[in-house]
């Protein structure tokens, strides 16, 4: 990604990201690029302002009857909630926040919910209870997985481009820390020999030996963006090495980098 042609291509993707037209898989990679490139961050900020401004073009007068109707409905709900007391509001706020976070996985989740309903209908029609229970259990697991993936992706992209994220540069990109979350945003990883994977390692503060973390392959362009399952506030360093497929309990090759988080 260092040659001018590739960089221009990445900056075009930054524009698409600012407009919100990138598929989710590419969005995370572009967020990584933005996180690691000052020029990309400037471009993103400028074009994001343009994209945000587009919303204004939809600002049109609303039919007065509709406007009044919407307002009455809203104020009735809001006033009722305000009168219901802070305890009830707090409970509802937690519930509403949870639902909102599922935004990116919503379509898949909706499809799975639809499948669950279909299965339940299936039970009453066919009385094939055991089979339906197995399908229900499988779909429920898928639904939970979909929700987790959606939240995880959104959180990762948010963290990677956040102005308050701390970036610890390495030759291949950066270790990005935000709050208690830690990510590898790498873009110059050499292709792996067959049967090998990249493995991350974490060194807890005060420890002398690294602990094994996740393994991952980069994509065809040598890009990998991964979240490490560790509490960033308790880490002293992050390392990366090439290991046999399946990972190792301790590094078996010279680390590609060891990056202190300080």
């Amino acid at each position: 990604m260092t040659d001018p042609g590739s960089r221009e291509e990445m900056l075009e993707l930054v524009a698409l990201y600012a407009l919100g037209v990138l598929p989710r898989d590419q969005a995370a990679l572009v967020a990584s690029f933005i996180a690691n490139d000052d020029g990309a961050r400037d471009e993103y900020r400028a074009l994001r302002a343009s994209a945000d401004a587009l919303a204004f073009s939809a600002d049109e007068p609303v039919d007065s009857a509709r406007s009044v109707r919407m307002k009455e409905r809203l104020l009735a709900r809001v006033s009722a909630e305000a009168a219901a007391g802070n305890g009830a509001i707090a409970r509802r706020r937690i519930s509403t926040n949870s639902g909102w976070l599922l935004g990116t996985g919503l379509a898949a989740a909706a499809a799975l919910i639809f499948s669950l309903v279909t299965v339940i209908q299936d039970v009453s029609l066919r009385s094939d209870l055991a089979q339906a229970q197995r399908r229900t259990a499988s779909l429920t697991t898928q639904l939970a997985d979909t929700e987790r993936v959606g939240q995880h992706d959104r959180q990762m992209v948010t963290d990677l481009v956040a102005p308050d994220a701390r970036r610890y540069e390495v030759a291949q990109g950066a270790v990005v820390v935000r709050g208690d979350r830690v990510y590898l945003a790498l873009s110059k990883l050499p292709a792996l020999p067959k049967g090998k994977v990249y493995q991350a390692w974490t060194l807890p503060k005060g420890a002398t030996a690294v602990q094994p973390s996740i393994t991952f392959p980069p994509n065809a362009e040598g890009i990998a963006v991964v979240a490490l399952p560790a509490d960033a506030t308790k880490l002293g360093a992050v390392a990366l090495s090439v290991e046999p497929d399946g990972g190792s309990k301790a590094p078996t090759t010279r680390p590609i980098f060891v990056r202190p988080l300080s």
Binding site: A28, S57, D59, V62, L75, R154
Partner: protein, 177 residues
């Protein structure tokens, strides 16, 4: 302090009058975005209700920056959810919901109005304006834009970037740097 920020603080304190003021100021924008994206006034009305209920129930979700940009993104996100639920649409990723930390950008956004943005948009060449509007209001990926307009993917990317840059420069005119 920004009057909208002050209103949001009052909303956090469960002030219904402050919430009503926000509704009066921004419901046209929220309804307009929803209607433009969904094409159905009744569904747009429901999305508008959802967006304002989010403001009421989760005022902390607004973490500073331009309120109008934030509420627009919330409206667009909700409308995209509706579009996705209608059929097999590829999942696009809206930019992270973050305040922009450049004062200039917030300054631009706070000084905008619908007419000014429409004027700036209308000055873009049609081949730049069309993919930008299709992407923003249609909730489709750049690949889908290329397919629908029968345009090479690389050309779509270049036009979107050039159009957004031109738009930004036009909208920034007159804003103190």
């Amino acid at each position: 302090m920004d009057p909208v920020v002050r209103l949001m603080e009052r909303v956090r304190a469960r002030d219904v009058a402050a919430f009503e003021s926000l509704y009066d100021s921004y419901h046209r924008l929220v309804f307009g975005i929803s209607l433009r994206m969904l094409g159905d006034p009744m569904v747009a009305e429901d999305v508008t209700q959802t967006v304002f209920m989010k403001i009421w129930t989760s005022p902390d979700a607004f973490r500073g920056g331009s309120f109008v940009a934030w509420v627009s993104r919330v409206a667009r996100n909700r409308a995209l959810d509706v579009l996705r639920s209608r059929g097999a649409r590829p999942e696009t990723e809206l930019p992270a919901d973050l305040p922009l930390d450049g004062a200039l950008d917030d300054e631009i956004l706070e000084r905008l109005d619908a007419e000014r943005v429409r004027d700036a948009l209308s000055m873009l060449p049609a081949e730049q304006r069309a993919p930008i509007e299709m992407g923003f209001f249609g909730g489709v990926t750049h690949q889908e834009i290329a397919r629908r307009t029968d345009t090479p993917l690389g050309t779509v990317k270049t036009r979107i970037r050039a159009g957004l840059r031109t738009l930004r420069n036009r909208l920034a005119e007159g804003v103190p740097q």
